[in-house]
C-alpha cells in the first residue's frame, strides 16, 4: 500500500466506517421491528403455540430438522410441514407413531413420549410457523 496512505487514515476508516454501518444496521433493525407485525403471524402466538415452541427447543428438534431453512440437514424441513401433511392431526399421528428403537438401517426419529397436550402444542407451533410470510420460501411443498 502506498506511503501517502497512512496507518492513521486506515484506522479512521475502520472506526468511522464501523460506526456508520452499526448505526445503519440499528436503523434497519428498528424498521424491521416495526414492519414485522404485518408478516410474522404474531396474532397466532397463543399460550399453546408458546408451549409448542418451548417443547421444540427442549427436545432439540432443530438438531436434525431445518425450520424456515435453518438448523440441521439430516431430516426434512418443518416450516411447511403443516402444509405438506395437510393437518395438525397428521403431524401428531406422525410424531406419536415413531418406533422406540427406530427403523432398522434407516434414519429414524426418536419416540419422545409426548402427552396429548404436548402433541397439540407442538402441532400448533408448526402450524403457526407455516403461516409466517417467508417471501414464498420454500420453492415447493417438499421444503
Amino acid at each position: 500500500m502506498s506511503q501517502a496512505f497512512t496507518k492513521a487514515m486506515a484506522r479512521n476508516i475502520f472506526y468511522g466506517g464501523s460506526l456508520f454501518f452499526i448505526l445503519l444496521f440499528l436503523a434497519l433493525t428498528f424498521d424491521t421491528d416495526s414492519t414485522l407485525p404485518s408478516r410474522d403471524n404474531h396474532a397466532a402466538i397463543t399460550e399453546k403455540v408458546a408451549m409448542g415452541k418451548a417443547l421444540w427447543e427442549k427436545n432439540d428438534c432443530i438438531g436434525c430438522h431445518t425450520l424456515l431453512g435453518e438448523g440441521a440437514y439430516f431430516a426434512p424441513e418443518l416450516g411447511n410441514v403443516y402444509k405438506r401433511f395437510g393437518s395438525t392431526d397428521a403431524i401428531k399421528a406422525f410424531i406419536k407413531g415413531r418406533p422406540k428403537n427406530g427403523i432398522p438401517g434407516r434414519r429414524s426419529m426418536p419416540q419422545f413420549n409426548f402427552t396429548d397436550e404436548e402433541l397439540d402444542a407442538i402441532a400448533a407451533f408448526l402450524k403457526y410457523a407455516s403461516e409466517i410470510n417467508t417471501n414464498n420460501w420454500p420453492p415447493n411443498i417438499q421444503g
Partner: protein, 469 residues
C-alpha cells in the same frame, strides 16, 4: 518467550487440541449416521452427536483464542499479564464446565438436561449452536468477563499497539454479541433475527478482528516486516470486514419472515464480504515475500499462508456461491450450506488457532524459536492431510448439495427430502472416508509434538536475497 506469564497459554492450547479430537470423532459418528441411519440409535441420536460436534468446535476455538491472547498480549503490551493466576483459574473453570456440559449431552436425555438445569426459568436451550444449558451460558459470560478484565487491564496499562487493540475489540465484541443468546422470545421470527446477531456477527464480524490480529502478530514475528506496514493492512482489512459484514447479516433475513428489502441489503453487502478475506490472502503472501529474514519455524509460516488461502476459499468463494438472494432461494438450508460451513470454519478459525499454536508452542516448550526439522516436517504433513481433506469434504458436500437442490427444489417433479437423501448416499460415503483421512491428519499433527523433541532446533536458512526468493 519474553514474559513468564505467557506460559498460561500452554494449557489453553493443549485443551484446544484435545477437544478438537473429540469434535472430529463426533463428526465421523454423524457422517456414518448419514449413510447408516440406525448407527448408535437411540443411544446417541443424530442431534446429540451434532451438538457435541459443533459445541466442541466453538469451545476449542474459544480456548484457542484465549490462549492466543494470553501469549500475544504480554509481548505486545511489553509487560506481564495482570493476573496469570486468574487466567489459570478460568482455564479450569471453563474446562470443567465445558466437560460437564458435553457429558450432560451424552448421558442425559436433552429434555431432562433442560429440566435439571432449570431451563424453564430462562429458556435459552435448543437453538442451533446455542444448545448449552443456561447455567453453562452464564458460566461462559463469567469466564469471558474475567478474561477480558485480565487482558484488557494488561493492554491498557502497557504499550498499546494496533494488534492488541484490535484483538481486544474483537474479544469484547465476541462477549457482547454472545449476550443475545439470552434473548429468546416466543415470536419465532424475532428469535431467529437476533440468533444471527450471535452467529453471523461472530464469524463474519468480531471473530474476523481476532483472526486479523493474530495473523498480523504472527506475520510481524516471522517476517520481520515493519510493524507500521502490517498494522496499516490490519486496519484496512477489518474496516472492510465490518463495513460489509454488519449489513451483510441481511443474507440470513431473506426467508425467515423479515421484510423483503433485506434481499437487497443482504445480497449487495454480503457479496462484498469476500473482499476482506481476499485482502488477508494478499496480505499474508505479500508480507512473506517482503520478509526481512527467514524464520526457522517454517511450519508456522505455512499455517499463516494456508489461513489466508483457505479462509478466502471457504468464507469468500463458498460464501459468495450461495449468498445472492435468487441463488439462496434454492440453496438455503441444504448440503451447500454445510459445505460452506465446513471450509469456512476450518479455513478461517481452525487454521488461525493452529497458526498461533504452531508459532507459540515451540517457545512454550522451551525452544528458542522453532521445533526440530523432523517435527516440522511431520507437522506439515498434518497440515496438508487436514487441509486437502477439508477441500474434498467440501467438494463432496457441494456435489451432494447441487443434486439435492435440483431433485428436491428445481426439477419438474420435486422429490421428497428423504427420497433425495437416499440418492446422495455415494457422496456421503465419500465425505465419510475423507473424514477418516482428516482424522489421520489430525493424529499426524498431534504426533509432531512428540517426534524430534530431542533433536536440535531447525536453523535459519539463508536470507531471501541469497536464496533468490
Amino acid at each position: 518467550m519474553q514474559y513468564q506469564s505467557q506460559r498460561v497459554a500452554k494449557p489453553y492450547f493443549i485443551a484446544a487440541i484435545g477437544l478438537f479430537v473429540g469434535q472430529i470423532l463426533f463428526g465421523l459418528v454423524m457422517g456414518l449416521q448419514y449413510v447408516m441411519g440406525d448407527f448408535l440409535f437411540p443411544a446417541i441420536p443424530f442431534n446429540v452427536a451434532r451438538m457435541v460436534h459443533t459445541n466442541l468446535l466453538i469451545v476449542w476455538l474459544l480456548f484457542g483464542f484465549m490462549g492466543a491472547a494470553y501469549y500475544l498480549v504480554p509481548e505486545e503490551a511489553e509487560r506481564e499479564l495482570v493476573s496469570p493466576k486468574l487466567a489459570l483459574a478460568m482455564f479450569w473453570i471453563f474446562l470443567v464446565a465445558g466437560a460437564l456440559t458435553i457429558l450432560g449431552y451424552l448421558f442425559v436425555p436433552y429434555s431432562s438436561l433442560a429440566d435439571m438445569t432449570g431451563n424453564s426459568i430462562l429458556p435459552t436451550m435448543g437453538r442451533e449452536f446455542l444448545e448449552q444449558p443456561t447455567i453453562t451460558k452464564l458460566g461462559i459470560v463469567v469466564v469471558a468477563l474475567a478474561f477480558l478484565f485480565n487482558i484488557g487491564a494488561t493492554i491498557l496499562s502497557g504499550r498499546k499497539t494496533a494488534v492488541s487493540l484490535v484483538l481486544l475489540i474483537g474479544l469484547a465484541g465476541l462477549a457482547v454479541m454472545f449476550l443475545f443468546s439470552f434473548y429468546n422470545p416466543d415470536n419465532l421470527v424475532k428469535d431467529k433475527f437476533y440468533w444471527w446477531w450471535v452467529v453471523h456477527l461472530w464469524v463474519e464480524g468480531v471473530w474476523e478482528l481476532i483472526l486479523g490480529s493474530i495473523l498480523a502478530f504472527v506475520l510481524i514475528k516471522t517476517t520481520g516486516v515493519d510493524r507500521e506496514v502490517i498494522e496499516k493492512w490490519l486496519y484496512v482489512i477489518i474496516a472492510m470486514t465490518l463495513i460489509t459484514g454488519i449489513i451483510g447479516t441481511g443474507h440470513h433475513y431473506y426467508w425467515i419472515g423479515t421484510p423483503a428489502y433485506w434481499k437487497w441489503w443482504g445480497s449487495i453487502f454480503s457479496a462484498m464480504e469476500p473482499i476482506p478475506f481476499f485482502m488477508m490472502t494478499v496480505f499474508a503472501f505479500n508480507m512473506v515475500n517482503r520478509r526481512r529474514r527467514n524464520h526457522p519455524n517454517k511450519a508456522a509460516v505455512l499455517w499463516a499462508l494456508g489461513t489466508g488461502v483457505m479462509a478466502f476459499l471457504g468464507a469468500g468463494v463458498w460464501g459468495f456461491l450461495h449468498t445472492l438472494a435468487p441463488v439462496n432461494y434454492y440453496t438455503h438450508g441444504t448440503q451447500i450450506t454445510a459445505a460452506h460451513g465446513h471450509m469456512a470454519f476450518y479455513g478461517a478459525y481452525v487454521m488461525i488457532v493452529l497458526t498461533m499454536i504452531s508459532y507459540a508452542m515451540p517457545m512454550l516448550r522451551g525452544r528458542e524459536a522453532a521445533n526440530s526439522n523432523r517435527s516440522q516436517v511431520v507437522e506439515m504433513w498434518g497440515f496438508w492431510l487436514m487441509t486437502v481433506s477439508i477441500v474434498f469434504i467440501t467438494l463432496f458436500l457441494t456435489a451432494a448439495g447441487i443434486l439435492q437442490v435440483y431433485l428436491q427444489r428445481m426439477s419438474e417433479n420435486p422429490l421428497p427430502f428423504m427420497v433425495v437423501q437416499d440418492k446422495l448416499a455415494l457422496f456421503y460415503w465419500l465425505r465419510e472416508i475423507t473424514g477418516v483421512v482428516f482424522l489421520i491428519g489430525l493424529v499426524v499433527y498431534i504426533a509432531s509434538f512428540f517426534v524430534g523433541s530431542r533433536e536440535p532446533e531447525a536453523s535459519v536458512s539463508p536470507a531471501p536475497a541469497e536464496a533468490g526468493a
